[in-house]
Symmetry: C2
Amino acid sequence: MSYDRIFNFSAGPSMLPVPVLESAREEMLNYHGSGMSVMEMSHRSKVYDEIITGAEALLRTVMGIPGNYKVMFLQGGASLQFAMVPMNLLKSGKADYIVTGQFSGKAYDEAKKYGDIGLAATTKGETFSRVPQQSELSLRKDADYVHICFNNTIYGTRFNYIPDTGNVPLVADMSSCILSEPVDVSKFGLIYAGAQKNVAPAGLTIVIAREELLTKELPAFVPTMCNYAVMADNGSMYNTPPCYPIYICKLVLEWIKSIGGLAGMKKLNEKKAAILYDYLDESALFKNPVSRESRSLMNVTFRAQSDEINDSFVKEAAKNGMANLKGHRSVGGMRASIYNAMPIEGVEKVVAFMKRFEQK
Amino acid sequence: MSYDRIFNFSAGPSMLPVPVLESAREEMLNYHGSGMSVMEMSHRSKVYDEIITGAEALLRTVMGIPGNYKVMFLQGGASLQFAMVPMNLLKSGKADYIVTGQFSGKAYDEAKKYGDIGLAATTKGETFSRVPQQSELSLRKDADYVHICFNNTIYGTRFNYIPDTGNVPLVADMSSCILSEPVDVSKFGLIYAGAQKNVAPAGLTIVIAREELLTKELPAFVPTMCNYAVMADNGSMYNTPPCYPIYICKLVLEWIKSIGGLAGMKKLNEKKAAILYDYLDESALFKNPVSRESRSLMNVTFRAQSDEINDSFVKEAAKNGMANLKGHRSVGGMRASIYNAMPIEGVEKVVAFMKRFEQK
């Protein structure tokens, strides 16, 4: 691999495509003859306007976002969305949450500060080793929205279906799966995603919301910066947006387009995940703890029988150019995060290494 | 100038030091042999920890921040601080604001959502052409804090003194002057600054707060992400921080240190500002509308008699490699923002150009 780069299996921030980094390097001191870096541009200049409107247009094309949806480039990560969603969308005061891991649990706890929040389902009793199926959901017909986390980074699970919530808008945290495969945006009232896994460096949050759900008239305690309608009406320019991550986002979207859009991305991601899961299903040493139907395409968790073996595996892998394979501190074991930018060679290398390790 | 770069007088985002951009370019695909870009690093990795703790340590050294102050690397810009300050610091419910321009006006309006906010003074009647002096301030002794904007980007003014607020903590928005000269941090209860002028690219907000002012127990409506105590207790890692701007911030601080710290910075900034103000005081064509004692070191505003001349000046300057000299859309005229990274050659060039323009 050029530049002596390693394969970085971090859950996020995580790998970016090499061509994106090469463009960023190339354009660092002088973007397209403007005489300045993208980091130095006035966000209200013509040259920057082409970047932000270009990024939005590309996102709309690549994801097939319908015209009645607003796209916002915000700050604060998914964690700020945990508050912004209820602050903006609670009207009757009721919402239902499906809790499938640590982050959806945090979203649920934060929402409780703002209204009557129902627990529609949880798989906590099964150590979040799967997501609940449609028949298990207790949904209130008069709720303002239903919230899910589409892919659960820590537990390596994901929804293999879009929950049917009738007329109640579905809100999804897609931080760890956005842009990994095609998704029917029209099935969602609102989608949000921290950018630092599949989109851009940390510091950018993408929000895609059906226009009719947004209203400027919110309770007085809602910070102006947390009002979706204000952000959308100002084209994400109510104040200075995170300009550089938006620029990288545009480069990433161009890269995705060049390899076949989200359909091409899905094919590649399924291939990568299959290499890992197929081996795990055969291995006598390593096990994947997730129910087959809930397996994540992005985060593949596995573990050996003892913490000692797990630790030794993570250390040996790091020495061999495969970094950040340690599982989240709350669950232990291992986790290979194989987001869009992880090349297939990285997955092949880790599986080859697992085989050698198992033989030893 | 190398790389065909231009002199960019933007009010923000604005110029970064060339050595900083060169380091960023050099390290783009492989930071210090880590095999990855800073944009790709797990924020909880050892290699990134050195960056964020290094940035904080440098900021403490360069600004002389006392040990009983917390440093936070946040998101959302000064505009989110307009809400976070009252949400966190209002205890009795009263605060006093000095309004000296558009942004301090926005801060004042936002704070009114949360309590009994007094107008301690304003120079609105004088088109914000100066800041009020100590004797003009109506301060309430039982207020929770007094808020000022230390440097007013749009009007080109700044406080030439630190208001004496007795036992009431002073809160200052220093977005457009932080790191431009030494400041006695111990005189402030809290300082905040959007990074995109003197510190780093947009997307990072620095908050420096006296520890005793922070408390986790806040009204239920305050988003967890807006709770200073939570952010500070987690070392700005409650969630993923804006990692890349923090890295650039560290490079900028190293650059400031290399040219003599804030004392050296001040000397350079005073020299740059004097070149412009001295010429403006003599010019028959261009006038600076600001009272002498309130003149900003960072944003120098000026105008000719007619909008036609102003427009023509801005256009001609841009053709000659001096960009973004147009004044803010709310006031018109011209503005040269000469932040830390603007070289003295840029100021000399613009003054030489003004002289030629005046002769014509």
